[in-house]
Symmetry: C3
Subunit: 533 residues, 3 copies
């Protein structure tokens, strides 16, 4: 007899005999659903099988019921999403009782008042009203619009705490609070002023920033006032006006002062593990030449197997079991998820810090380097006092970066994931090649940066030595593409053991060597014996 | 008891009791099919359930039966496609009886002679024989090769009429009939002639045009003669020779004089709603840097949710119900489909005009602008008499464009779709940002266009002021990428509230500001005090 | 009664009556599995259906059982993969008995000692121990790490033989053994040395080569020594150290001297036909601008239909039946697979030579040309004695290329595939356009190559006439992108009748004409009357 029950995941059961029950989960949206329902109905009616039972629906709070009265009509999409979610089907009181690796509520306890009802609209949007600057009176309830990681932390405390150690939670601050990065930002998204004799970029306005860098990095939210709107169902009502909204960037500064957005990866209102575990979520931000993780993955052996077979995999089981639930890793497998072997033993623990299986930081800056110690990178200074984790020669700002022991430990943690499917010779061969590629790309960047420094020295462009924006001129852009785009792509490709073309022809070595040749060509054409200071 | 019957969608039923039937649709190609069939067979045989019934198959006309005799052997793929299609399963006479939003035949009536049989080969390829220049005698039938929107209009009249108002139906004409666009075309796909002292492009030949621009825009079909071929099954037969064929471009000029190709989105011979509703159909033409709608969508939150979960969605239900059938929009959801809420009420009407939920035209030309009034854009003249919807400064050719009222109305229509899942603060915040991005990108294009005009004035390139092709020289191409590629990408990214990298690093602001810096660099290097007129 | 049994594909059956059985295959990883199991269990228990039987599991050899003892714990992923594979479910002795087109073991006989057990770890990794340089003693067994095509050939002899005629099997050798290609490789992935007065690239180190070109082309494997490792389960053990490992490139030089890697397309340890038939496998190597087959396909009509509907197709049936198993071709359909019509008759034979449905070689070199006669292209010399299949003017090195008769035959073979879904006017129209595009792109390359030759002649760059690397300078790279990237993309787009943007704006004609304009611009700026020799 098959009993596939797993606490609270299923919608109804058939009582097969005195002990055994057969549990079913029906995804609401599936076409298959209709067929299954039909088949089951047939079985029940024709076989006189009387003992069908339904799992207890989680009770809905009165406040949530009141929300639904209007909003189920106004915004059926999100309400249906929520109805499909685990949040609608189980109470925190039930969820916290789950034993072992399957437990999803990580907080040690949940508030009594949240314990006995499903996690509905009111349970999140009424939480901690005093903490949220956007709390407003809405039909007698103190509602806030933007739910923050600190709200989620009420039940999911460990994940929220891990995430604060994740450099991603500081994505807004690390960009906005670093003078050098701000200059890069201005050179890319700023307002241009160009005539023959003048080329300059002034800082972008807030709406452009929100649409560009901060779309992924997260905006700083601010309540700028209130607005009365004539609503369809309740006439005139007053709402807060929130600058920087809507936004779901990973380092959003929320209206309770917290940093981050859980919906960046667990999109509203399904808050789905399935979505977060797929590679498409990471793709939202990691797709361009600056950080081509998704394209590289999708062209790798792992990505191929995922694309070919994932329709038959299970993306909701907790823990996530190698071999049984999936046949090749996604982004989450290697970087986030709690993994188990088929005997139910933990392979690696869940982490929302996300870089604690990563010794190297391989993108975004001139050279690869060990990961920063603190998620707040604005505190880093290299030996020249610049807010960079390496010198212009590639030397590390050691004091601010993890040391060899921590790097070794993180490497070992990642290799536990590799070992789920690969033998030791494979794993060590792969890592040897990857670490060599870090060295080799850094050597190329020394060539490019050396040329840039010569060009500055000759006065053919105005940059660091002149106290000018080192990123805005045509030749400076050619230089920053070498590290911002091409060396990155090469390292991602090597790290993921795949996506060969991305390491060579698709924004990799081809374009890196081309850029160096073009920098040389540009320099030679303009150089004259009487240049320089 | 579950009764999931929906007129004519299902293949067979199980009679459960006197009243209730359980209906099943079996997709012919599914592996699952085997399992279902097996399970059902088991139920029927072991449970002594005798009352299984099959939906009436639609009768096939004698003419179609005769077609199938040879063609089912010759081209099994398309015949199987058709057998999987709704066209093979239902007669127009049955289909027109469907009440309410589910009705798919929009014409007020269908010809009596088509009413009682399935829509097979003969029903389309023998239709309106006098109207088609490629009609030829084929085994005693007056067959035409290319079925046109006017043929489809016999049953689907409203869609065909809407589509004629769609700028896409004029895609061939609007390109071929605009002198300025023709120069752009020649500079891109023309035959090059280049030596040190000379650079020129002459118009491309028809086969190159058909393979390039007109692959998407549609070719002009023309019968150039006939050809006798020795066929496997019937010996020598004569066929028309059609220039510009094969082609399925959206603005194809057909052999009955009509414009468009329904198979551009509803590919032969399934004519599938499922295919047309998926984002991959739009991707066929909207994938490159000139119009990166698909890449942007696929990296957006909507695209992520679609990629992660669409296997469980229903892409065939009519109307298409928010929340129930799907959990995030595809291209069709926002731009084409009839949407309903879970109570079965219409949210927005179906439209094959496709731009009537769109106030702004955000790509293809120097500046964004309100949509043209007429789908025929060859009539547009700006204040300088050029066939462009804006001046070189960005001013609108107002007379030819929709006005503020119509823009407001179209915005409201689109916002009804947004409201299916988003609250008002979200929707208005999004639109405010989007409309600002239109302004901000247009400002950048004024910088780039200003540089271009200076360069022309100085005689460093020969373009508009000299009566020369303004698009063919290296520096002119740098200029047209600013609007043809980069500003477009930024606006698409903003419009779809997603795909952040496409707005910055992947052909967005990074490349836009880079192009401006490079134009400045190019200009300065070549400028000499004695240049100019 | 439905009997869907197909030899050895199914896992268990229900005995419905004396003769009929209903067979079921349960994919181990599917979520659906749970539902099916539940439903079936319900049927069996409630209907008193007693006669459920399980297909005989294939016996596992003692040696394999011993492998699994440790490795199932160490690497659960690959063991589960294997358990999901056909190799675990059927013995070669059973498989060779399959009659007709469904037979997968192509060798005339299989060794007796392999005949009666499943194809497990030991069956492959102990095979031909004397032939493999990496054979080592492992718990008393002579194990080799790297399984080669010659191992697979024991059962799959025909495919292995065909593959040796495939130019892909020579991918390492053809690159490493061609002086001119080596110069191109060095200019792309070599170590740069650049100052104002000097620009040079020296050959890349072996780890960079393995991470770059040889990731796809295949590395040359070499045992460089042995290593003792302290293993978790068995204490200290000695293993071979293999340079160039891990690698799954198509032309890998194996430790038995053979060339190729079956796992390039049939990834370990499912050895899946399903994976190999999907387009994502080819994408692993054919995705960048040098060979954009996948992006072009995915934006084509075929690719659209695949993306939209493939979840309902069957990717495991052998033969693969047009219309029944699939509704649009993938890469494998046109280039590799054995196809049948719905009557079970062969349309085209399986081929692992892969170019024998291809008259033209359309990428990788300056001009398109007929396919080489030998998979070893290092023997080719053009009329100037260069190792290229064409002259710099485009003339063919005829002696080394297939002739008109063979081209005609290969075209006819491919057109049999086209005819599965398209009529003759479609097919001939398509091919006429494609062959014209080959001519037209070659004409553009003559313009670009002519400019390059002039520039060399004037001494503005140092290349072929000077005995210098003709690929490494900035202007030379602009030239090689015209053929290495853009003409290729255009031809792929034309060949696949789709992906319009890739033929124009996405690395196609737009960039080709731009490059020619930029070469002209570069040349003019630098040219002075006193240049040249």
């Amino acid at each position: 007899m098959v009993d596939v029950r797993d606490d609270f995941q299923y919608d109804f059961f058939i009582q097969l005999n005195d002990q055994a029950r057969c549990w079913f989960m029906i995804k609401r949206r599936t076409t298959m659903n209709k067929l299954f329902s039909g088949i089951l109905a047939t079985i029940f009616s024709t076989c006189m099988l009387s003992s069908i039972g339904y799992c207890d629906e989680a009770a809905i709070s009165d406040a949530t019921a009141e929300c639904l009265e209007c909003h189920a009509m106004q915004h059926p999409g999100i309400v249906k999403d929520w109805q499909d979610s685990r949040h609608s089907k189980i109470t925190p009181g039930q969820a916290i009782k789950v034993k072992g690796l399957g437990r999803k509520v990580s907080s040690q306890s949940v508030p009594k008042e949240l314990s006995a009802t499903a996690v509905g609209c009111a349970e999140c949007h009424l939480l901690r009203p005093d903490q949220h600057a956007d709390t407003f009176d809405h039909n007698g309830y103190n509602v806030h619009v933007v739910v923050s990681p600190q709200d989620c932390a009420v039940c999911h405390g460990e994940e929220a705490a891990q995430y604060q150690k994740n450099i991603m939670s500081h994505a807004h601050k690390n960009l906005a609070g670093n003078d050098l990065y701000r200059q890069l930002k201005t050179s890319i998204i700023g307002k241009s002023h160009a005539t023959r004799t003048q080329l300059g970029f002034t800082p972008a306005d807030p709406l452009t920033e929100a649409d560009a860098c901060y779309y992924c990095h997260g905006t700083r939210l601010r309540v700028s006032g209130t607005q009365v709107r004539d609503t369809e169902l309740a006439g005139e009502m007053e709402f807060p006006v929130i600058e920087g909204w809507p936004n779901q960037g990973v380092g959003r500064i929320n209206l309770d002062g917290s940093m981050g957005s859980c919906t960046a990866c667990h999109p509203r209102h399904t808050f789905s593990i399935e979505v977060a575990r797929g590679p498409y979520t990471c793709k939202e931000c990691h797709v361009g030449p600056d950080v081509p993780a998704y394209p590289v993955y999708s062209a790798s052996k792992h990505g191929n197997i995922h694309s070919s077979l994932h329709k038959d995999w299970n993306f909701t089981n907790v823990p996530w079991t190698v071999g049984k639930d999936f046949g090749a890793p996604t982004c989450a497998t290697c970087h986030v998820s709690l993994l188990a072997n088929p005997d139910g033993e933990e392979i690696v623990a869940r982490t929302h810090q996300m870089n604690n299986r990563l010794p190297w930081r391989i993108y975004g800056l001139i050279y690869a380097h060990p990961h920063p110690l603190s998620p707040d990178t604005t505190i880093i200074r290299n030996k020249d006092g610049m807010p960079l984790p390496t010198d212009l020669d590639g030397g590390y700002a050691t004091k601010f970066l993890i040391g060899p022991e921590e790097m070794k430990q993180r490497t070992a943690e990642m290799q536990k994931v590799c070992a789920g499917c690969h033998d030791t010779s494979w794993v060590t061969g792969h890592w040897k090649k990857f670490e060599h590629v870090i060295e080799a790309t850094d050597a190329e960047l020394r060539t490019a940066t050396g040329l840039m420094q010569e060009i500055w020295k000759e006065g053919l462009a105005l940059g660091l030595p002149h106290g000018r924006n080192p990123f805005d001129e045509a030749i400076e852009r050619k230089w920053h593409r070498t590290w911002l785009f091409y060396a990155n792509s090469i390292r991602f490709t090597s790290a993921m053991a795949g996506g060969g073309d991305y390491g060579v022809f698709a924004g990799g070595r081809y374009q890196l060597s081309q850029s160096i040749a073009e920098m040389h060509d540009w320099y030679n054409l303009r150089w004259k014996p009487d240049h320089g200071k």
